[in-house]
Symmetry: C2
Subunit: 352 residues, 2 copies
DNA sequence: AAGCATGATGGAATCGTTTCCATGGAGAAG
DNA sequence: CTTCTCCATGGAAACGATTCCATCATGCTT
């Protein structure tokens, strides 16, 4: 447990000033002879610059924060792997936090990152603008992934708002100042629309949407895809936990035995739907068809293998990390990645 | 993007010295009146002490490192959630790295953590003593989870060594100095033994073990459980990737069509086994019985639902975090957590 | 040959905190 | 009344890097 060599030690041993050592190590100008000598001494002392000193001087920690609702959700795990891969390539450490889908915990974690002077953050947001505006105002470079904070004005108004506007029932909302942060999203609108059309094509008319926290956007896309009139009883939300997802799925099946197809807004919801259906002796796809968000490895293991809306989770993470790392003065543009409907065996024609 | 208040600002505004502010904030002695005033000013200025200054002064980053092979492996995700939960309770940030099961990347990540002065680390090790001895010597408090580094002398010599010793074929190995770090492990020996006995009880005689990197301990337990003579062809190893796992599983089934049962050393291996069996038209459990390590949520979704050896992944992570946080001068004791065989539907009687 | 530009170099300031130490005042004990 | 003790308090020194700036030597231009 001998203590590490500091820049001062290197400077002394090489007979130069600390400034010179610093310059050599960070690629500044130096004569070839000194450069060589310093490098040799540094190697010999096994000198590694301490991030502590550097960080303090530069008033930023370096490294990037990553906030996801739940790592055991395979999609977020994939996304995280993408972030980690990009960060490793850049040599940056990643501080990960799991919010559990709870705005309060999320806010707490943001506070912690702020305290650590982590000034670059990738987040799958749970809370709304009230959580995120402060972070942005504190100078953090934030990139959202998978979805935007609830109150942030989406680029495209959601279907529900559209309907209201069309009906002349509501004035345009006072446009809650959009959070000034780029995002990496999947094309939910297209993904859901494709899934709904596919189910429609199989003859399904009573299609339900089973969502979790943060799936409002997908729910909106779903409403839009099924078109008015939307049977709101067929749009149900669970909270973050697996138990809640199961309860929501089971409740849905029981309260509306007339439904013939379900779109699950996330893989945890899909899992719950399969379980609930089995418990209620509903056979997939004979009695109920299922399309699940996220192409997770185990989707293929189910029986029948699940038809899914695939999102490129790993890529999304990687792209988000690229954005946040580049993230200079001019804020980066958001990017939307395509989804793909992967047809396996969990959807069948409607049986009367 | 106004800059944050520093301790100096608070001191000035409160009309006291910085030392006093620091003391008040960290619970040192101060008169009630000053304490109150400082607290008020701090709150009013929204002062949050910067971890940067503190870390530099204390020559350690605080926070803990976490290294796992792959976050998309649900077991490691569970373990990580446990670590994160404990760390959040303690208000400590967690720097996560994914090694991909590659000793080189692992070593690189350890180096990065060292550079960040992260001095407490929880690791699911991939590399051997050569990776870990340096980290320990550098003064890191390391807690291993799920397994020990390869070359570290296990508390209990593995079965293979035992056999050699019994046969008088080898001198006791020169006891590679055991790494001086506690670990949180599952009781692999009992877990595997229970699984093998269960399969034996169903009539299976040719049982294979399908392992991945780091499953040597489980393989050892397997050899011990099946007893000599061990058919070494029935013990196969994949490298870290899903592809490799699939290849190993498929190769195993094809090269030894006589096997009737498989123990998979991890959930990724189990997934691969199910896939490979399906591809080869082997039916589970009719043609081949399967026991998989890790009770992951999707084990129940498979058809048939998978019989598993459950490890308390979340608990393991939580305990590891407790150990590393407590981890003071006296090194903590290792802990071994129980496993449980959860019988579902993937094992059946041997059919001839 | 003198002046000027260029580039290498080291000293010192800086970042924000904790902590050591000296100071001063107040209360207690003699 | 004096001396001793104790505590609140603030100044200043770390911590380990980066970086500004002044200095000095060298080589080139005029």
């Amino acid at each position: 447990m001998e203590k590490r060599a500091t820049i001062k030690d290197v400077a002394e041993a090489a007979g130069v000033g600390v400034a010179t050592v610093s310059r050599v190590l960070s690629g500044g100008s130096a004569s070839p002879s000194t450069r060589e000598r310093v490098l040799a001494v540094a190697a010999q002392l096994d000198y590694r610059p301490s991030a502590l000193g550097r960080n303090l001087r530069q008033r930023r920690t370096g490294g990037i924060g990553l906030l996801v609702p739940d790592l055991t959700d395979t999609f977020y795990a994939q996304l995280s792997e993408g972030v980690l891969a990009c960060a490793r390539a850049a040599g940056e450490p990643v501080v990960v936090g799991s919010t559990g889908g709870d705005p309060e915990q999320e806010a707490e974690l943001v506070g912690m990152l702020l305290e650590q002077s982590v000034d670059r953050l990738i987040a799958v947001p749970t809370g709304g603008a009230d959580t995120w505006a402060p972070a942005l105002k504190a100078g953090m470079t934030v990139v959202f992934a998978d979805r935007l904070p609830a109150e942030a004005a989406p680029d495209e108004p959601d279907a529900f708002t559209d309907l209201l506007l069309l009906d002349g029932l509501a004035a345009p909302p006072p446009a809650p100042r959009p959070l000034d942060a780029p995002a990496v999203l999947a094309d939910d609108r297209a993904g859901v629309r494709t899934a709904v059309r596919y189910l429609r094509g199989l003859g399904h008319r009573r299609i339900a949407f089973l969502g979790g926290p943060g799936h409002e956007r997908r729910a909106g896309a779903f409403r839009e895809a099924v078109g008015a009139p939307v049977d709101e009883e067929l749009v149900v939300f669970a909270t973050g936990s697996r138990d809640s997802a199961y309860a929501a799925a089971s409740g849905l099946f029981q309260s509306r035995p007339d439904l013939t197809a379900v779109v699950a807004g996330g893989n945890v919801l899909g899992e719950a739907a399969v379980l609930a259906a089995r418990e209620l002796d509903l056979r997939v796809p004979r009695d109920v068809s299922l399309v699940m968000y996220d192409d997770v490895p185990w989707a293929e293991l189910c029986s029948p293998p699940l038809t899914v809306i695939a999102q490129p989770g790993r890529d999304m993470g990687y792209r988000a990390a690229e954005l946040v790392l580049r993230g200079g003065p001019r804020r980066a543009r958001s990017v939307t990645l395509p989804t793909e409907l992967i047809v396996r065996g969990s959807c069948g024609p409607r049986r009367t």
